[in-house]
């Protein structure tokens, strides 16, 4: 059975007192290193999904009501240790999961998240924390329906960081852990480590690899195709006696996003049978 057809579950023990059986929305994660174009894709996808009739909620790191502001303030001071940084992000994530993501899923929304727990795990590992420790810390996370990993090399990231953002960020370059003599050197070393850490998680967490060395439009078309298929999975789910052969014979359609997902969206609003 495909992950997209199963009810949502937690990675490990989960959140105390949270019932996942009534979560009928879709949880879609866009992952990838800094500067790979995640936020561009999230905003394109959001517009497209809303045009197609889906209710969409998007979220991302350091946006929680509880600690979002504190994280931004603390980062300005450049006095955050690596453990404190990791746990700040874990607190931020938990607050958004409990107060934004889960309520939206309960209401049948498509939740698009610009990064999830994987970046936090990758960053903590790149900063020298024990990967098993931080993975277990994030054990209360919901297993998403799909994780699209925008995969690019550091060489692909450099032009975007320099041309689109006008330079290197202190934290995105891992300057807090002194990875190089200057921002450039540190950025290359740190991001290489983050990418390696993300690559190494691909299998454990079932990432779908998306080649992000292409143009934003190509990436968008690719993601649209995959998400259409994911949302169609809901519509075509066999209720009792499945006819898997018939379903499988149906050719994979070229993206007809609008009509396909309008129908899918109406199904999204009816809770999935457990």
């Amino acid at each position: 059975m495909k992950a997209s057809q199963q009810p949502l579950t937690f990675y490990e023990e989960g959140l105390p007192g949270v019932d996942t059986s009534a979560l009928c929305g879709k949880l879609i994660v866009i992952e990838g290193p800094d500067g790979v174009g995640r936020s561009t894709q999230v905003s394109l996808l959001r517009t497209w999904l809303e045009h197609s009739g889906h209710a969409v909620m998007d979220t991302g790191m350091a946006r929680s009501a509880l600690v979002g502001k504190t994280i931004r303030q603390a980062k300005r001071g450049n006095t955050l240790g690596p453990l404190t940084l990791s746990l700040f992000y874990a607190t931020d994530f938990a607050d958004r999961l409990e107060n934004e993501i889960i309520p939206a899923l309960r209401a049948g929304f498509v939740v698009l998240t610009d990064r999830y727990i994987y970046s936090s795990i990758a960053r903590a590992s790149a900063r020298g924390s024990d990967p098993a420790w931080i993975r277990q810390v994030f054990g209360f996370a919901l297993r998403p329906h799909a994780i699209y990993y925008l995969r690019a090399s550091v060489q692909d990231l450099l032009p975007r960081v320099v041309y689109a953002r006008g330079g290197f960020d202190y934290w995105e370059s891992g300057m807090d852990v002194h990875m190089g003599k200057d921002l450039f050197e540190s950025f290359v070393r740190y991001q290489s480590r983050v990418i390696r850490a993300l690559d190494s998680m691909a299998q454990r967490y079932d990432f779908e690899m998306v080649d992000a060395s292409r143009t934003p439009d190509k990436i968008f078309q690719d993601l649209k195709k995959r998400i259409t298929r994911l949302l169609d999975g809901v519509k075509r789910r066999p209720q009792k006696a499945p006819a898997p052969s018939a379903a499988r014979k149906k050719p994979v359609r070229a993206p007809e996003p609008v009509s396909a997902s309008v129908q899918a969206s109406s199904d999204l609003l009816t809770p999935a049978p457990a």
Partner: protein, 256 residues
């Protein structure tokens, strides 16, 4: 999944195994057990004997404290975020207040430590294993004192000293009872059960907190003297002006 199996196979490996020249003394117990008073007396005594002493309190990271205060005021916490924000506070203190002095060879006195989180968060329904993993970066204390006190005695001390019990302190977020005092009693009762179960798990030194302040302090000093081998303090930081300090006096000759 395999982490889980590994953890189960070796459940005692909770803290970091790093070794330091300094010593870490922690006090634990429910509110009103008198542990802060005892730790203050102990640290005065250690300072008067010429040792470098650093004090660290629960929930005191300047970076995190404001968030915790605001979250509590607006009732924004769930058991999970309550646990995580305290771990964040603790991580900041470990990285900046606790670890550097330990490396330098000072005695660090901590009023509450990770055990407080193990007891409180579990009483709130957070998984025992999850919260122990969360604090795996903590340094194993040299000595952990547990102040055992009957609930009624603790409640009497608290109600005597302050006007009202606070929302989270009384576990009101758990909706155990609408009555604050009753809720406090139920919640702190759960915490006591967790502490009692940790005595063997972490080798707590149990202090009978119904004894007089002086009697408790005498016992504590005896244990510290013995365990820290204060007559031959190896690697411990000594005050440079040691000769000028009245070593029999109560206070330190120098401000903290």
């Amino acid at each position: 999944m395999e982490d889980w199996v590994r953890w189960k196979a070796n459940p005692m490996r909770v803290f970091s195994s790093r070794k330091f020249p300094g010593k870490l003394i922690v006090v634990e117990g429910i509110d009103g057990s008198g542990k802060s008073t005892q730790l203050a007396l102990l640290s005065h005594w250690l300072r008067s004997r010429g040792f470098g002493v650093v004090f660290s309190e629960w929930n005191s990271s300047p970076l995190v404290r404001e968030t915790t205060r605001r979250g509590k005021k607006k009732d924004m916490f769930t058991p999970t975020t309550f646990s995580l924000i305290h771990a964040t506070d603790f991580a900041d203190r470990i990285e900046r207040q606790i670890l550097p002095p330990l490396r330098a060879g000072s005695i660090v006195c901590a009023d509450r430590y990770a055990f407080t989180a193990f007891a409180r968060d579990t009483a709130r329904g957070v998984s025992r294993r999850w919260v122990r993993n969360l604090y795996r970066f903590a340094i194993r204390p040299t000595l952990a004192f547990y102040f055992r006190v009957p609930l009624d005695v603790a409640l009497g001390r608290i109600l005597g000293g302050r006007d009202a019990l606070k929302y989270y302190e009384a576990g009101m977020d758990l909706h155990l009872s609408r009555d604050v005092e009753e809720s406090f009693r139920l919640f702190q009762g759960r915490i006591v059960d967790e502490y009692e179960a940790m005595i063997d798990e972490f080798g707590f030194r149990v202090i009978d907190a119904t004894l007089s302040i002086e009697e408790q302090q005498t016992k504590i000093r005896e244990i510290v003297e013995q365990e820290l081998d204060l007559t031959h303090p190896n690697g411990l930081l000594r005050a440079p002006w040691q000769g000028f300090v009245d070593t029999n006096g109560i206070g330190s000759a120098r401000p903290v």
